[in-house]
Amino acid sequence: MSTIIFLILFPFAVALALLVLKTDAARDMIVKVASIVIAAASVYLAVQYFGSGGEYFDFESETITYLMIGIETLLGVMIFYLGIKYKKYVASILAAIQTPVMLFFELGIGHSIHAANNLYVDRLSIVMVLIIGIIGTLICWYSIGYMKDFHHHHHEEPDRRPRFFFLLFLFLSAMFGIVVSNNLLWLYFFWEITTVCSFFLIGFTKTPEAIKNSFRALVFNMLGALGFTLAIVILGKYYGIMELNQLLAMGAMGVSVVLPVALLAFAGITKAAQMPFNSWLLGAMVAPTPTSALLHSSTMVKAGVFLIVKLSPVLGWNLAGVMVMLVGGITFLMASFAAISQSNAKRVLAYSTVANLGLIVACGGIGTYAAVWAAIMLIIFHAVTKSLLFLCVGTAEHNIGSRDIEDMDGLFGRMPKLATFMIVGIAGMFLAPFGMLISKWAAMKAFIDSGNVLLVMMIIFGSAATLFYWTKWLGKMVAIMAKQENIQQNVHKEEWLVLTSLTVLTVVICLVFPVMSSFLVVPYLETIYSSVATLALSSGNMYIMSAMLALVVLLPLLFYGKTSKRIVPIYLAGANLGDDLTFRGSMDKEVSVSLKNWYMDDYFAEKRMNLIGVIATVVVLVTVFSILLGGVL
């Protein structure tokens, strides 16, 4: 248990220290040491509880409860104030509703309910702790160099790095809190902190756009939190429970817990940026890239899906489950389509994140053994690969001055190492022997088995779109342009270290995923599902996949770039000028060849896709909640 407490408190302490320290050297030092310590601690935690598969702790203290209430109230007041200050009254109103309700409940009914176990660790927690502990700290490490550049690029603004790192570590602390809290009030508390961290990080640059987007994120997350609050109130008032495991147990016993579960899932949906709330995640892309990597792809949004996966045993073919799977499915489909029309790398990544979260949410909604297996696998693979991609884009942005995919022309010539990492990352997101595809495969099979044809169609069409937008990016990466200058020596050492380790991790994790599956995920699933279903992937297929991966890795090492052939200019319809980059154009001018990807705005216009998705999901949400509330009232 002490490891858990350490994981929550240590990052917090580091955060406070970073807020105070102003010198670069000290900051670098602390971040590096803290990162190593946190990563080590999370691995230690994994080892510690690996054998037992986890346990519950009744860590209880009045002080902590009051402290939490106090902080929550403070946060509420602060949001109320900021809302007024920036004329974002919706945020203020939400804070004004939510905080008193929560306060009233916690001091009233909530106080009388005794929570037996406030903390717990199980294998899912271990997975999440590892992700946060390793990926999270890698990103923090990466931020050292990145933020120097960032500060350099935006030198007209005051150096806000202390605040940045403070928020980063505070966030890690809260994240650990989320994945180990069994008490819903505790969970709620950490949930709120991540929201606030995210809010401040999105508004980090304080540009009008950043402020607008940060409030949007805040409002949407608070809407979710409102759902959370209601769920807690209902659970406390009508069921008399306050603990997650009890909720699940009640569900398993057949007690109808659909309404609170639906509300909790709703909170998860907002946090996981599912439609209709996906726009906050897109807006969050104004934040510095490590923020995007950490909060908006690999961890914070994972809190949302984590909650849903946690709830999955009580989802399935009930109203809450149907709601979750439909929202997830629609989001997956529409976000995948919308990604096609994007050329800003971060927005593509954002849409892809939304889409993948949608897939995980849909898996969670189905709630069968195989679906949850797929969901957990997706969480793991997505966290690793997506953070790699985000960080690659960050590095590219600082070195080529743009985050637009179309400006990454000839990146292979300019920054070969980075381009290779990016290729691995992109391939990892959708290609056959890599993890994301394996999970998608499993997810698909789970969907088919669950008999939800609509969802099957969504994943099928969504995958087709995924293929399109990733490959065209990939194409940009592999394009060999003549006469490119190598500019990659400007990249910070820390960045290379992190990128390299993430790339290795991406590949290794795919190689060892059968191990992960059988020692981590399957045992977890066996604890919640009494019946053991067959997995999507037979061992034979896993071997084939591993062999394919080996081939994909080995072939380039053996043959890549080796040729004895005569190298000739490209075909330019007989108008070449000799350098492969220009041709003799009309009026005898020299015209540069410019090759851009397709965006198909007529078909997959972002706005239209969002609109369709939002309408569809709103209809689903409204319908489900009206039926549920109608049943209650």
Binding site: S343, E406, L572, A573, G574, A575, F583, R584, G585, S586, M587, D588, V591, S592, V593, S594, L595, K596, N597, W598, Y599, M600, D601
Partner: protein, 360 residues
């Protein structure tokens, strides 16, 4: 610039039988901008007036273009005859008209084939050209050449066609009509063909007038414009009404040309009925007098323009040929904007470009 791709289209490109060049600026596949460049075939043959006598010049003029070769020869002879005040025999006029209309049949069939190839309908292309070969056989039989005839000369024609051959000509053409019906049916009604043609490259009547389009291009946009109406050759005796369509898209242009094939066949049949006996040429001697003469001709591609300026010598001072493509290129450039990349061949083809005509 953002998402704009810039590619060279031509000079060497499989859909272009003749070299032109376009700088195509495309977004996805939509053409945003197309800047044409020509001059790959410019020979400067009008300048040969200084080196060739007016009687020999006809061989040069015929070789301005291998597809509308006969018309060029006719148009040129026309101007010289006008300058010199020569009245050519009626039979010669008839023969010229027959060959000219036969050229139109061959040219339109050729074009239909190329168009089919342009939208990737290989078998249609093959069948069009298969039929076209029958027309070429008629040419070979009557003139001795398949594409360059060398039958027109100042003062008449060089070769006569006897009665049997004329009748055979008509029966061959009539025989062709049946198979032609199947082909035109495909062009008119086939779903995939219509999908590629209808609404593509729309040129409104106003635009067509504004851009001075000529020939089938103008007629497809609803302009009743056909130089044959001016009564050159024996067209005034053949009673015809130009084929006019109003839709103004590639489909309409296809329709116009297809209808003209049938119309030309009818005209040939009628001319064969009416053709009088007599001489086929008058002797021409002496210098071309001072003066100038302009003649026009409805070539398969539209209005062609011939101008000669005499200088009281065996050599002309200036000849000038303005070909239909010249006048249709502006319309093409206009229609190219906003089309799909896949439509580019279609649009280049529907003006039935004859670049070697244009650049001479």
């Amino acid at each position: 610039m953002g998402k704009r791709t810039i590619i060279p289209f031509g000079p060497q490109h499989p859909v272009l039988p003749e070299p032109v060049h376009l700088d195509l600026v495309i977004e996805d596949e939509k053409v945003v901008e197309a800047i044409p460049s020509i001059g790959f075939i410019h020979r400067g043959l009008e300048k040969l007036v200084e080196k060739k006598e007016y009687t020999e010049l006809v061989y040069v003029i015929e070789r301005i273009c291998g597809i509308c070769s006969f018309g060029h020869g006719w148009g040129y002879c026309h101007t010289v005859e006008g300058l010199m005040g020569i009245e050519i025999p009626e039979r010669a006029e008839y023969l010229r008209t027959i060959w000219h209309e036969l050229s139109r049949v061959h040219s339109h069939l050729l074009w239909l084939g190329l168009l089919a190839d342009g939208f990737g309908f290989e078998s249609l292309f093959m069948h069009c050209w298969r039929l076209r070969e029958r027309v070429l056989d008629l040419f070979e039989k009557t003139t001795g050449g398949r594409v360059i005839f060398s039958v027109c000369k100042v003062g008449g024609v060089r070769k006569d066609i006897d009665k049997e051959t004329l009748d055979e000509m008509v029966s061959v053409l009539r025989g062709m009509e049946k198979e032609l019906k199947e082909l035109t049916e495909t062009f008119i009604n086939d779903y995939s063909v219509k999908n590629r043609l209808v609404g593509v490259g729309y040129l409104s009547k106003e635009d067509a007038i504004e851009l001075c389009a000529v020939g089938p291009m103008a007629r497809a946009s609803g302009i009743r414009q056909d130089i044959r109406l001016t009564g050159n050759g024996v067209y005034d005796k053949l009673e015809f009404e130009p084929c006019v369509e109003t839709a103004g898209d590639c489909y309409a242009r296809t329709l116009v040309r297809m209808r003209e094939v049938y119309q030309s066949i009818d005209m040939i049949a009628k001319a064969v009925e009416l053709i009088p006996d007599g001489e086929i040429s008058v002797p021409v001697k002496g210098n071309v007098p001072k003066g100038e003469f302009m003649a026009r001709l409805e070539q398969p591609r539209g209005e062609a323009f011939y101008y000669s300026k005499g200088a009281d010598s065996k050599f002309l001072e200036r000849i000038r040929v303005r070909t239909p493509t010249n006048m249709n290129i502006p319309a093409m450039v206009k229609t190219l904007q906003g089309c799909d990349l896949a439509d580019v061949p279609m649009l280049i083809l529907t003006i039935d470009p004859c670049i070697s005509c244009t650049e001479r």
